[in-house]
Symmetry: C2
């Protein structure tokens, strides 16, 4: 598997463009519109926020996905179009219509996605200018720019692509994502757009996307807050002429590659988490089942006290054990083994004679590994989380004002 710098344009027949439309405020240097277009109709799958309070484009994209076909995705940053009522929904429909007219495609095949401030009406005149610029500037070299245009508090653009040799030939998967705050473990708070030139029927694509998301974007945590706009879309345009059929060896290979792409971007989101100075992998093994392992890993990944300890480079296993203990999963604490940076700090629920200095030194690394073994079965799961720093607080106390 190789990666290229083309992002969502790596697969055949996808072009993109970015524009600075001043959605949040006029700034000619800040890209805030991105358009992805497929030459041919693509099957489409989507996974969305489960928040009751969801944005107009989420409601709209669910409908596009239920149709199973898409040609384009229009994304803006700077305005989430959430809590904007029926006007917000009308603005989303209007956005799709503008794109459709410019590209001469059916409006019901245009996905729309928004991220940014909640509760502010979408500035449709400025957005329309941005859409026009994008439609006029489509190219297969704009993947990185598009990834930049969907950023909000992100500090780096996130995109990747892979080439995947299958039985009949090679297909490509490209992707980009954004999200640095409002990252919660149940449908991570972010936007991600994935393209592929494989030919995949919509139901299979939906199934594979949902599985991949459950082990990637739904296993990360920055601040436990689930956004109103979370969206992962995957478009498969078939232009490689290589088909991925259900239950074939190629299907398993494609699903694994899709999961790799999602995990790679999910980890990039955590690394760029607001104020993050650490990237922490929490692995739980030996649980009664995978769901229990996941629940415990999530509790630790979400714990403010664990996250501040990671920030403080403190091997505070007491907080980790306490978070596992309140996760809701019943386990025997006297059988708990805990490893921090590979050092066995807790054996059968009690501290070992480990060297505190050694572990602390090791926690100065930007990457921290925490592993819990419950000795109760074969269930396992990994969550990725950031630490909680003073910088996080500063960023979020000042966000709107």
């Amino acid at each position: 598997m190789t990666t290229s710098e083309k992002g969502v344009c790596a697969p055949k027949g996808f072009r993109t463009a970015a524009a600075a439309a001043g959605i949040k405020k006029p700034d000619p240097d800040r890209l805030d519109c991105a358009l992805i277009v497929s030459e041919a109709p693509a099957t489409v799958a989507g996974v969305f926020t489960t928040n009751v309070v969801h944005a107009a484009p989420v409601r709209y994209c669910r409908e596009v996905c239920s149709g199973g076909v898409a040609r384009a995705v229009m994304v803006n940053s700077g305005n989430a179009n959430a809590c904007t009522g029926e006007q917000g929904y009308a603005d989303t429909l209007k956005t799709a219509e503008i794109v459709a007219n410019l590209l001469d495609i059916p409006p019901e095949q245009v996905c729309v996605s928004s991220t940014g401030v909640i509760g502010v009406p979408m500035p449709m005149d400025r957005l329309e200018q941005g859409i026009k610029q994008c439609a006029a500037g489509l190219s297969d070299a704009s993947g990185p720019d598009a990834a930049r245009a969907i950023m909000t508090t992100d500090t780096v653009p996130k995109y990747c692509s892979v080439e995947l040799p299958l039985t009949q030939g090679t297909v490509r998967i490209g992707a980009m994502a954004k999200g640095a705050g409002m990252i919660a473990p149940n449908m991570a708070t972010m936007l991600a757009f994935i393209t592929t030139d494989a030919a995949i029927e919509a139901p299979l694509l939906q199934h594979m996307l949902r599985e991949a998301v459950s082990r990637s974007f739904n296993c990360i945590c920055v601040d436990n807050d689930m956004s109103t706009n979370d969206t992962v879309l995957c478009l498969a345009n078939g232009l490689s002429t290589i088909s991925v059929a259900p239950d074939s060896p190629d299907c398993a290979r494609f699903a694994a590659a899709l999961e790799d792409v999602c995990v790679s971007l999910a980890q990039a989101l955590v690394r760029d988490g607001e104020g993050a100075t650490k990237f922490v992998a929490i692995t739980v093994t030996g649980a009664a089942n995978d769901a229990d392992a996941r629940t415990i890993a999530a509790a630790i990944a979400k714990s403010q006290l664990c996250k501040t300890a990671f920030y403080g480079q403190d091997a505070n296993w007491g907080r980790i054990a306490a978070a596992a203990g309140y996760s809701g999963v019943v386990f025997d604490p006297t059988r708990l083994d805990l490893y921090i940076q590979g050092v066995h700090v807790l054996a059968a629920g009690q501290p070992t004679a480990y060297s505190e200095a050694e572990v602390q030194e090791s926690m100065k690394q930007p990457d921290i590994d925490v592993t819990l073994e419950l000795h109760d079965g074969t269930g396992a799961a990994t969550f990725w989380t950031s630490d909680l720093s003073q910088e996080y607080v500063a960023i979020n106390a000042d966000y709107r004002t």
Copy 2:
């Protein structure tokens, strides 16, 4: 109802003492042992952490409470006696035995409670010296000192008392509590000790205590982390000679007073929350039922993004609506009314034409009120939470090291 400064010594027949035993580290100025003694055997009720990983004294106190009678409570700060294995439990039994021998009472009537660092063996020799000092110094004027001795990261001692006129005469309730971090909404992370000279059978006392805790200590939130040591104990020694019988008017009055005492201390815990600069009351009304209202209020109270916005004095209703939306309760967001500091900021799910400057000015107050009306029924609940400040992160990144 009047309050006095005597804390747990306000009811007849309760004496207390505090000592500096150097449990965590030698410091002659830091009180870290407190002993509460009742002249006569008291009925006892307890509510404890639901954490699977719980401390030895929690396991032990559950047994004392199942016996229904207690004469004394021995508390230490500086060491939680959690994750200390069978030795930890043996140390707790030994603590009760030392107290029992000194006071000439049955050891199974001695409650033991600990708070502090997890995973460190209890220094029994130093604790024994502390117990001896306490047993020799019992008085009815040491309530404030005892409240000071159970503090960890608390910055102020928390105690209160009330006199309650009942049909046959006056009874008194006294109480003290500690806790500033590891405060979670499901069995708050803290210790609280309540005394009364009313005569109340143990089952009724247990029922009233559980009810009071559910609407006080279980409705507060500082950092969502549930501790291994949460304990609320209530001792009723009957020395007022006034009985509180089940289903009597006095019973309702006593239950209300007990809840008032618990709410008062619970609010004091939030006000003294680690790094807290704001005291925020989250009230949800118009929910389908009280449980739904509670779930939504808890989600907002726990949200890192809401808490940083409170810190930033930012009327960020988008984050509040988003937290309500992911709480798990299904409601109609287009009927949501939201008030911040009494200002109607969201009507039927959309922003009103309120003055941002006015609300921001009002949020400079240390107390912030947030009210959500769902227009879906008569369910209501209030949660109390602190803000999330950079100081919180500094405190918890540095706690152990």
